[in-house]
């Protein structure tokens, strides 16, 4: 394989598979799942190997159709896009292994093949957004993955079409705002290519048109990443979507918006522009701080586990936004590291919720008790580990994200931000321990006898290996990645910092 083709491979692979699946399934229905899995595995391998290709810090460019930019569309593989695609594809792979059983359980026969095809389209969209170096192409893939997601959300239970409709309307508005931003950008600069725009903007300076463009693009990405107060679509979509969709959406979907934000703010605009000329970074930082508090507080009030995790995700996206808004090297490293860390944690948590739905028939917190733990000890253990990570206990990944973000905050003397980051650990502890307590402690109403008879009647009824293994792999990864975080940060993340930021390192 020619190395310069690397950037384009993963989106195209998924597109191709997405079209192949309905055709192949005409022959044999089962092929749908296996093709999807194979494509994701291939893409993960490619994405991981891509990281090694760009470790020296130089980017690989691919020009579609041979047309050089800024005339043609180019795809860029640099350390950031290599990292984010690896995260997306590997997590999707692990979730897909889990998905086979839940898709069989949740979806009627006729919808399974189209489901996997949509998943492929969604993955194609995600990978395209990350790899692309062209603003309009980003819009195209944004809409591809959004449309696929609307469909994926809608196939759930009775309430999911409503959730999907709301998601559709809000997502559409977001996409349109983004498009409007691209339009303004094009009108003022004449180019759609990111690298080219960087050079042009350096000369143009702060024109009103450019500022408006930035604002609209931010709105678009903000809706996509569910940054407070643009998060309205998220709770319902995560809650009512089928298990596999939630597990695919939650760890990855919002991160794409964050990635877009990082690309636009740091790789196209000059650092000074976003911090001083138009204090965009400050606005994002404060909105993120609000998101952290809002998400955590709302999560405490939820009874349905998936809904609690949804609000928790809003808070976690706030972390990423805060890291972006701090606009310093360590905040940004923290934000990108959190893309990985939160992806792992949320994927594990949503898989656990899926396991509960599969075996217990529900995922309502008020109905969870020691019964759940006795039946599914491994699943509850995975949940506990993920909960500890969300709270931020070392040496799990959650601690390290918070460390880098806190460091970024201290560097900027943002004491309020530091306080909010740390306070959120305590808030997380409140709503996660509420659930963990239910698993391991005796319920308050029942007496001794009830506890003993329950022990006698329920035996182990853990989920199958294909569902348990991904859950446990993700849980274990929380420790492994945590311990190895220094390797990740120094080996990969520090390499992607744009020159303006890299100069600020202590």
């Amino acid at each position: 394989m020619i190395p310069t083709n690397a950037p384009a491979l993963t989106p195209l692979l998924f597109l191709f598979t997405g079209l192949l699946i309905p055709l192949a399934a005409l022959k044999l229905k089962k092929l749908a799942y296996w093709l999807a899995l194979a494509a994701t595995a291939l893409a993960s391998a490619a994405a991981l190997s891509n990281i090694f290709r760009v470790l020296d810090g130089r980017a690989i460019h691919y020009h579609f159709g041979g047309w050089p930019p800024p005339i043609g569309i180019e795809y860029v593989l640099d350390p950031l896009s290599a990292f984010v695609t690896s995260v997306i594809n590997v997590i999707a792979l692990i979730v897909l292994i889990h998905a086979r059983r839940t898709v069989e359980a949740d979806l009627p026969e006729g919808k399974r093949v189209p489901y996997y095809a949509l998943v492929m389209l969604m993955m194609s969209g995600f990978n395209g957004i990350v790899m692309t170096g062209d603003f309009f192409n980003l819009y195209v893939f944004l809409e591809i993955c959004s449309l696929a997601l609307y469909g994926l959300v809608a196939v759930g239970d009775r309430k999911s079409p409503v959730a999907a409709f709301r998601y559709l309307v809000l997502g559409m508005i977001g996409g349109c705002f983004y498009l409007l931003g691209v339009g303004f950008m094009y009108m003022n600069s004449g180019s759609l290519n990111m690298a080219d725009l960087k050079a042009i903007l350096a000369v143009l300076g702060p024109r009103p048109g450019i500022i408006v463009a930035l604002a609209f693009m931010l709105l678009g990405f903000g809706i996509k990443m569910a940054l407070f107060p643009l998060h309205g679509w998220l709770p319902d979509a995560y809650t009512y979507a089928p298990t596999a969709t939630s597990a695919l959406m939650a760890p990855i979907g919002t991160k794409i918006g964050a990635y877009g934000l990082i690309r636009v703010l740091f790789f196209v605009f000059v650092l000074q522009f976003i911090t001083q000329t138009v204090p965009v970074a400050t606005v994002i930082a404060w909105l993120s701080a609000a998101a952290i508090l809002y998400g955590s507080i709302q999560a405490m009030a939820q009874d349905e586990l998936k809904r609690m995790l949804a609000f928790s995700s809003i808070a976690q996206v706030g972390y990423i936004g805060l890291g972006i808004g701090l606009a310093n090297p360590w905040g940004l490293v923290g934000a990108v590291l959190h893309i990985l860390n939160h992806g792992l944690m949320k994927a594990c948590l949503f898989l656990v919720a899926g396991n509960f739905r599969m075996k217990l028939g529900h995922s309502r917190i008020s109905r969870l008790d020691q019964e759940a733990r006795r039946k599914m000890p491994w699943t509850t253990a995975a949940f506990t580990l993920a909960a500890l990570s969300m709270i931020g206990l070392p040496p799990t990944v959650g601690f390290f994200s918070k460390w880098y973000l806190a460091w970024g905050a201290v560097r900027n003397k943002g004491w309020v931000f530091l306080a909010i980051i740390l306070l959120s650990s305590l808030l997380n502890a409140v709503y996660f321990f509420r659930v963990v307590e239910r698993f391991y402690l005796r319920p308050k109403q029942k007496g001794e006898e009830a506890g003993r008879t329950a022990a006698a009647t329920s035996g182990r009824s853990e989920v199958t290996v294909s569902m348990l293994a991904p859950t446990l792999i993700l849980a274990a990864s929380l420790l492994v990645v945590g311990l190895l975080n220094a390797v990740l940060v120094q080996g990969i993340l520090l390499k992607f910092l744009p020159p303006g930021l890299a100069a600020l390192k202590p």
Binding site: L388, L393, P394, L418, L426, F433, L441, L483, N485, A486
Partner: protein, 496 residues
């Protein structure tokens, strides 16, 4: 400052790891209690043995160093068994063996549930304690500190009664908040030093030009971070509430591991991060002294009011821990030596008292002081041990408590603060006021409902008598700890 000789050795790492490995075996042997308990004891003996092997070098002033991988950019997960760490580790690992024996007697005596969970998490706690003792930098310290916090929780809520759950929640609320503040302090330190978090003799931050606006908040963050576990007032209220835990848990963790980790952390923060020079410059040492005095006196006064024996002992711990805070605040070599002696000696004496309290609860079902009339006749060994421990806590010779208290008082006078010595004397009187009545009731009053009762099982009585004898022995021959503490304090006070 004499440079410390550092030699590399993996023994500190094994000391931390051995009980983690035991956890696996404990979990696997949950159906065979005798085998399961064997693993705990084996791990305890192994751990103690490993720490003992570090002792000769520590007495010579050497430090065993084990550097692992990088955990943060520029900071490694690293263990250093310097004399200070070896002192703490010695106390914790040695007392774990005795507590494990005691636990076996206690848990079986009460036919407690979920014993596997108990022994497993106990082992994790001790692993974390070793990690805290040997942590070479703030990152490693925080790692093990937080693990200790979480691993203690299942032990506190062991009974799973609503009361226990509430106590556990209170404990977590206090300790997690403290942990968060400690992280804030660490991140800030990381920022100030440009990526260095090592514990350095004389203070990591010593050379930096810090203004009051930075130093004072930083100190407060560190203080709150370690102060909760050290039970400094007003951060102490989790400790009495946590007495709902089974007695061996209260004994080890709240008299030895958890709270001692707190004061140990305070010593590290004061002398290895902030540095005595900084503390003196901003009068933070005075702040420590004030807090210590308030806690010493108030703790003792509150102890007087408690009828529940374990709660009384808990407030006594709160008070005694501040002896060590006082020692830190005096900012001198002799004071620190006295403080470290008290860290070790108080642990031995307090654990005796808790063991006795547990024996009384198991054998006689009595938990309140008012119920203890005449128990001395039925459980003479237990109450004799109690007497030794109590006398030691009051600071009377020839027990260990006298030695540490004497040195602390002498250091206070030498440091130009004779009033503090007076506080110590007063505290001794208060100790007597809340401990001696118990002895008096036990031996000199007639009890009811004691017919046919006898001593607790050997699993419980032997450990508690051993610790009582140890309090006596250390009072007569404190040289080992004295030398170790001296080594620990050497070179910390450079220009003072």
């Amino acid at each position: 400052m004499n440079p410390q000789q550092v030699y590399s050795s993996l023994v500190p790492l094994w000391a931390v790891v051995v009980s983690l490995a035991a956890v696996l075996f404990i979990l696997l042997s949950s159906r065979r209690p005798n085998l399961r308990e064997f693993w705990t004891l084996a791990a305890g003996l192994a751990k103690f043995g490993l720490v003992l092997s570090l002792l000769p070098a520590a007495l010579r002033g050497q430090t065993a160093a084990a550097d692992l991988f990088e955990i943060l950019p520029g900071v490694r997960l690293a263990l250093r068994a310097d004399p200070l760490g070896v002192l703490f580790a010695l106390v914790a690992s040695g007392l774990w063996i005795l507590t494990s024996c005691y636990s076996i007697g206690y848990m079986r005596g009460l036919k407690e549930h979920k014993q596997t969970r108990y022994f497993a998490f106990f082992a994790v706690c001790l692993s974390a304690t070793m990690g805290i003792a040997f942590a070479a930098n703030l990152a490693t310290f925080i790692l093990f500190y937080e693990i200790l916090t979480i691993a203690t929780y299942p032990l506190i809520i062991h009974q799973e009664t609503p009361e226990a759950v509430r106590a556990g929640r209170k404990y977590l609320a206090f300790t997690l908040s403290a942990g968060v503040l400690l992280v804030a302090a660490a991140v800030w330190t990381y920022q100030l030093t440009g990526g260095d978090l090592d514990f350095r003799r004389g203070g990591l931050l010593a050379g930096l030009p810090l203004a009051a606006g930075t130093a004072v908040p930083l100190f407060l963050l560190f203080l709150a971070g370690v102060g909760v576990k050290s039970s400094v007032m007003p951060l102490h209220s989790w400790l009495p509430t946590a007495m709902v835990a089974p007695t061996p848990v209260s004994a080890l963790l709240h008299a030895v591991a958890v709270v001692k980790a707190g004061v140990f952390g305070l010593v590290r923060m004061a002398f290895f991060i902030l540095g005595p020079e900084l503390l003196r410059r901003f009068r933070l040492d005075t702040a420590l002294l004030v807090l210590a005095v308030v806690t010493i006196l108030l703790g003792s006064l509150l102890a007087l009011r408690q009828d529940n024996l374990k709660r009384r002992l808990a407030y006594s711990t709160v008070s005694h821990l501040s002896y060590i805070v006082l020692a830190v605040g005096l900012l001198s070599g002799p004071a620190l030596v006295a403080g470290l002696l008290h860290l070790a000696f108080h642990a031995v004496m307090k654990i005796t008292l808790f063991f006795c309290a547990g024996a009384l609860a198991v054998r006689l079902g009595r938990e309140n002081v008012s119920e203890l009339n005449g128990v001395g006749r039925v459980m003479p060994w237990t109450m004799a041990a109690f007497t030794l421990g109590a006398v030691g806590l009051c600071g009377l010779p020839p027990l260990a408590g006298f030695v540490s208290k004497w040195y602390l008082g002498a250091a206070a006078v030498a440091g130009g603060r004779p009033l503090l010595a007076g506080v110590l004397v007063l505290s001794g009187l208060l100790n007597a006021a809340y401990l001696f009545p118990i002895i008096q009731r036990a031996f000199f009053r007639r009890g009811e409902g004691l017919a046919g009762r006898k001593e607790a099982s050997a699993w419980m009585v032997v450990p508690l008598f051993l610790t009582a004898l140890l309090s006596l022995a250390l009072g007569l021959y404190p040289n080992l700890f004295f030398d170790l503490a001296g080594r620990a304090a050497a070179g910390l006070f450079g220009s003072l």
